[in-house]
Symmetry: C2
Subunit: 329 residues, 2 copies
């Protein structure tokens, strides 16, 4: 099980990326990690001896966070991200993880790693936190801005396989993100996708609303990349604003600090639920290999969690299962 890490992508690269990888290498000896990036810079982040299940692959270039994705991937063939993608494409690795430029990573998935046969457009999927900790796999969260109904059906199909294989859910419930739960709701896209999903063999439970996601109203939430991204950021923004306001309120006086101390266990559990760093990365599904996007501000813990998630997915052999099911249609 070989996982390539783009050691140069993310706000805290290479330091905390390498640190997270080393922590993961120590915890799971069954994985081989390949750190791609500037060898000297990576070496400098490794104190002591390099563990035997970690190797370094040199890359001369780095794709910056603000570079135009398609241009950057086409031009920077020697970048850590593109080289990581090539290792997956050539079968030298099973998965890649990057905390770098999201657009460039999606482009790397599409152009370098390559689409899975039968999938028109890969989708960015993420396990969104729910109160019961089982999560909702929402996809697409931003890979494909103008999706077609057939593509939403493809997302549902691969999302369902993912939840079966990786999370062990028996008949994952597929929900279509919409403005109401009634059948004829929505825009032209969701109306057409509704009909396709209903005619499919999937366990389609109908339209679902963004307000109920945290209560796990479905197991796979299907949407176009524009709507999905808006939903995700609305939830993130609201959670972080409320948690931020609470923190300020708790710091107001000695008495409120006392209240904060009393409430700490409960708040910590709530904060953990809402914290992306706990939930690993987003996945680009529908490509020939696992491509995992860790959050741009990932610290060592977030990187380690992304590796944990990738390892579980690899153990379940999810990519091969998807390819089989999709091409068998």
């Amino acid at each position: 099980m070989r996982i390539v890490i783009d050691a140069m992508g993310g706000d805290h690269a290479p330091g905390l990326i390498v640190q997270g990888a080393l922590d993961a290498a120590a915890e799971w000896p069954d994985i081989q990690l390949v750190l791609v990036g500037d060898t000297a810079a990576i070496q400098a982040c490794i104190q002591g001896t390099k563990p035997s299940n970690v190797t370094i692959e040199h890359a001369d270039e780095v794709i910056g966070p603000d570079e135009e994705p398609v241009k950057a991937v086409r031009r920077k063939k020697q970048s850590s991200m593109v080289i990581a993608g090539q290792l997956v494409r050539e079968g030298q690795a099973d998965a890649m993880i990057s905390a770098g430029n999201t657009g460039a990573l999606m482009t790397t998935g599409l152009l370098v790693v390559g689409r899975m046969e039968g999938i028109e457009r890969p989708a960015l999927a993420q396990l969104m936190p729910t109160m019961d900790n089982i999560g909702v796999l929402a996809m697409d969260l931003g890979a494909n801005m103008d999706a077609k109904p057939e593509q939403l059906l493809q997302y549902a199909t691969i999302g369902s396989i993912y939840r079966k294989q990786v999370d062990g859910l028996k008949e994952p419930r597929i929900g279509l993100l919409n403005v109401g739960t009634e059948e004829r709701k929505g825009n032209e896209l969701t109306k057409a996708a509704y009909d396709l999903l209903e005619a499919s063999p999937l366990n389609f439970i109908g339209n679902v609303e963004a307000r109920d996601v945290l209560q796990r109203n479905c197991d796979v939430l299907v949407c176009d990349g524009f709507a999905g991204n808006i939903m995700l950021k609305a939830m993130e923004g609201t959670a972080s604003t409320i948690m931020g306001t609470l923190k300020t309120e708790f710091k107001r006086s000695i008495l409120t600090k006392l209240a904060a101390a009393i409430m700490m266990p409960g708040l910590r559990s709530l904060g953990k639920k809402m914290d992306y760093k706990e939930h690993g990365g987003a996945l680009l599904l529908g490509v020939n290999g696992l491509v995992v996007k860790a959050h741009g501000s990932s610290d060592a813990r977030a990187v380690k969690n992304a590796i944990r998630q990738t390892r579980s997915a690899l153990i379940s052999d999810v990519t091969a299962c998807m390819a089989k099911e999709i091409s068998g249609k």
Copy 2:
């Protein structure tokens, strides 16, 4: 200043709707309120003498919350909602408020009250709460599911007039809801709308993200009805889940109840910010008169707040200003 109230719409109709109207009538003697609905039922909710600035207009029918909007509005000509709309259309009232079926109210606005000249599709607008209490006017939140770029420009234009006239903002900042703040982000709709907005005389500040709305990243947030509705419900769902979890945590033991007591003022202010009942109703903008949607679960306070908001809008003469600006183009 005459405001028609659909006394039969909403979960708590007619009781709390009438109560809210009576409270408003007592507070603002400069408004005339017309309660539309079953006369006997409304009379039964009025204890003592009916105030002189409140009249009752009888309606035989009621549009239920689950009725198909267009059918219901076309068939139930004697419903409280349709009669309220007719009073606005005929100039016998300046505004109408309903807590009933949202789709039916939008249809009433479009078909009974009528579109403003120069507006292709009215938009549902709502002042979303922000931490600074000034709010972001988001539109469209669900009137028009498949918007065209020109329609987004029309929303921006009327939204800008609204914030100038009603809220006294000098040069309202127009933001386009998108998946990133960079210029070429988004789907085909937002890319085309971006160009139109940039070429307009409006104070367009570019793309904005859903995560920053609570920090008032703009004064008018323009979006299609599908994306806007998803954003709104994602924010509502997240806020209510977090606040609900907090309540549970605070009730856990005697100590946490003590913490709750200490934190009460701060929590109350946060809860108030997040509570739709404080923020009046949503507005259907782009029709010939003010059409205000109060939340379905509105209590007397929510109804009174919707009347307060409607009164302010009428004082500012916003409908006439919009009609003038739009037709003058």
